[in-house]
């Protein structure tokens, strides 16, 4: 049986004025998979997301989403066909309330006329309420997102991502700055999302990655160094050298 790959990066290279941020990167995600991506600073993790979401055009190679190439498509078009992204530092609209932030994220398919003339439909409002419940922000719906705490902003952004209903979620460092308890909750949330959605998580936090119980891809210098379960990764000598640090040195 041929496995269906929802995301397929083929020999992708990105060069910034001669510097290779990505170097012949190959990566495949099957539908419903939860995948963690780790790598040292400068390994190309964020560039890799930029290539998928259309912010950066690959110098070489191609990116396929559901069998169709994403290269050359505009960011908003890629978002509309089902690729959602959460940024490294939380990027929420600080001058809008929690409710308004989520209304934007659930309305991407509404026509402009509707956005101008109508309030969100009952369904959409219900969806917004549901999202606020998931991330525990129901009591803060009228509060400006700018006055939320860092952790709450992270969660709001995750809720905004869910609101877009993407079939592929790209999540960049979701637990940076979260408490241990919040980190656990986030891990559980991401785990529950996979299956129906395909989730790709980038993070540094080893405990968090372990908790995801997913396959791990290690990036280094713009290409894939190693792929496999967390245990396999942690025992791989190459990975230990570049990323985890040599144990015997400690």
């Amino acid at each position: 049986m041929v496995k269906e790959f929802i995301l397929n990066l083929k020999d992708v290279s990105v060069s910034f004025e001669g510097f290779l941020a990505l170097n012949n990167l190959n990566l495949k995600l099957t539908k419903g998979e939860l995948r963690a991506v780790i790598g040292p600073n400068g390994a190309g993790k964020t560039t890799f997301l930029d290539v998928i979401t259309g912010k950066v055009k690959p110098t070489k190679g191609d990116v396929f989403f559901k069998g169709k190439s994403l290269v050359g498509k505009k960011e908003h078009k890629i978002a509309r066909i089902g690729v959602g992204r959460k940024f490294q530092s939380p990027r929420v609209f600080e001058n809008l309330s929690v409710q308004e932030n989520l209304e934007i994220s659930v309305s991407q398919y509404s026509s402009t006329i509707k956005l101008i003339a109508n309030k969100p439909s009952e369904n959409k409002l219900e969806e917004v309420n549901k999202l606020m419940k998931i991330v525990n922000l129901s009591s803060k719906s009228e509060i400006k997102a700018g006055s939320l705490s860092h952790g709450q902003k992270q969660w709001l952004e995750i809720a905004m991502l869910l609101g877009q209903k993407p079939s592929l979620m790209l999540i960049d460092e979701p637990v940076a700055g979260l408490t241990d308890e919040e980190t656990e909750l986030t891990a559980d949330l991401l785990k529950s999302l996979s299956g129906e959605n395909t989730v790709l998580v980038i993070d540094h936090d080893m405990e968090f990655i372990r908790r995801l119980e997913s396959n791990v891809t290690v990036l280094n210098q713009g290409s894939v160094l190693c792929e496999g379960s967390m245990d396999k990764i942690q025992s791989d000598p190459k990975v230990i050298e570049v990323y985890l640090g040599k144990q015997e040195d400690l």
Partner: protein, 367 residues
């Protein structure tokens, strides 16, 4: 507490409306004309607030759209007051035939549409080309100013087409069988300016209250994020900039008939920058601030010009510096954010703090 705040704002509105209606019988005809002009400028300021205050598009070329609206109405009035032939000034340059683009302005209906549609379309076109290429921030401002200079030089140099630097005067033209400069007609224009500025204020407020408004603010604060949320910012920016152009055209038309003249001087750079100052001083992103800023600064200008000719420019510069350094949110923004209350606290007036109702009740009864 909240309720009383609402009543206070109703009270302000009632006072403003009463003054607006009673004004023609309180002041002389020439003063009324000044008030009408100031009101009409509130409309262009509203457009600037929508595009700059809400969407972050700082246009330094609103004078283009403003003047286009003014020229549209002035061309109509010139043609409307003719019994035969072509407007007199053409004779000075030996022009015998009406230039082709004057023809449609014989129709009042066409003119009524052209006043807002032509500036709107041009704004939309300029906006689309700029936004599509992802030109943002200060580069956008510079481009709009460059466009302003292009229009200024064109209108200034074309005597044979639109009387060049002399512009088109309106007071001796005829509308509804009366001279446009007639006090009665001017009173109607005063009322029309006031009514339109209120209507457009309410419309703009409605426009930004929905998701569309949230997206505009989103574009201002973090445009790439809006893209990744699945919206095309080019569409929204073009729409709002075109709408600001429409408002500028309407404002220009109303201003022209009360200022007696439209000429390329309204396409000069300082005038377009002045418009931005009105909005900055009044408070950007507040809508009401834009209107009040335009109204009172312009009113102050004509008042001060009477006392110390040439002195206004210093006061205006001072105002702008004051706002940038002390009131970055503008006057209305400062009031909305509790500024007056904070000022009182600074002078030792204690802030009223809501505590448990029972405690307050006890204090009041002196138990």
């Amino acid at each position: 507490m909240k309720l009383s705040k609402k009543y206070i704002s109703y009270l302000w509105w009632a006072i403003a409306l009463a003054l607006f209606i009673a004004m023609p019988s309180l002041v002389s005809d020439s003063r009324l004309k000044i008030l009408g002009k100031c009101l009409s400028l509130g409309i262009v300021a509203l457009g600037i607030d929508l595009s700059w205050g809400f969407t972050g598009l700082l246009s330094l070329g609103q004078g283009i759209f403003f003047s286009l609206g003014g020229y549209a109405i002035a061309m109509f009035l010139q043609l409307n007051s003719l019994k035969e032939g072509i407007p007199e000034f053409f004779g000075l340059y030996g022009v015998r035939e009406l230039p082709f683009f004057w023809e449609p302005f014989k129709s009042p209906l066409f003119t009524l549409i052209a006043i807002w549609l032509i500036p709107g379309l041009i704004a939309g076109l300029i906006g689309y080309l700029v936004f599509r290429n992802r030109i943002k921030g200060v580069y956008f401002s510079i481009l709009t100013q460059a466009a302003l200079l292009v229009f200024f030089n064109f209108f200034n140099g074309q005597q044979k087409l639109i009387n060049g630097t002399n512009g088109l005067p309106t007071p001796n033209t005829i509308l509804f069988g009366t001279m446009v400069g007639d006090p009665l007609i001017q009173k109607y224009f005063y009322y029309l300016s006031g009514i339109l500025v209120i209507l457009f204020y309410l419309f703009s407020k409605w426009l930004v209250s929905k998701r569309f408004g949230s997206i505009l603010i989103g574009i201002r604060d973090d445009e790439p994020r809006i893209r990744f949320s699945g919206y095309n910012p080019v569409l929204f920016k073009t729409l709002i900039f075109a709408f600001a152009g429409c408002l500028a055209g309407i404002s220009g038309a109303l201003f022209t008939v009360q200022a007696d003249l439209i000429s390329p001087q309204y396409m000069r750079v300082p005038f377009s920058i002045e418009m931005v100052i009105w909005v900055a001083v009044g408070g950007r992103g507040t809508l009401l601030g834009a209107i009040l800023g335009a109204f009172f600064i312009r009113l102050g200008e004509s008042f001060v010009q009477g006392l110390i000719p040439g002195g206004w420019i210093f006061i205006q510069g001072g105002l702008f510096i004051l706002v940038v350094t002390i009131l970055p949110e503008g006057v209305i923004g400062w009031i909305n954010n509790g500024g007056p209350r904070n000022l009182l606290t600074r002078f030792g007036v204690k802030r009223f703090i809501a505590t448990y109702p029972s405690l307050e009740a006890n204090k009041k009864e002196g138990i």
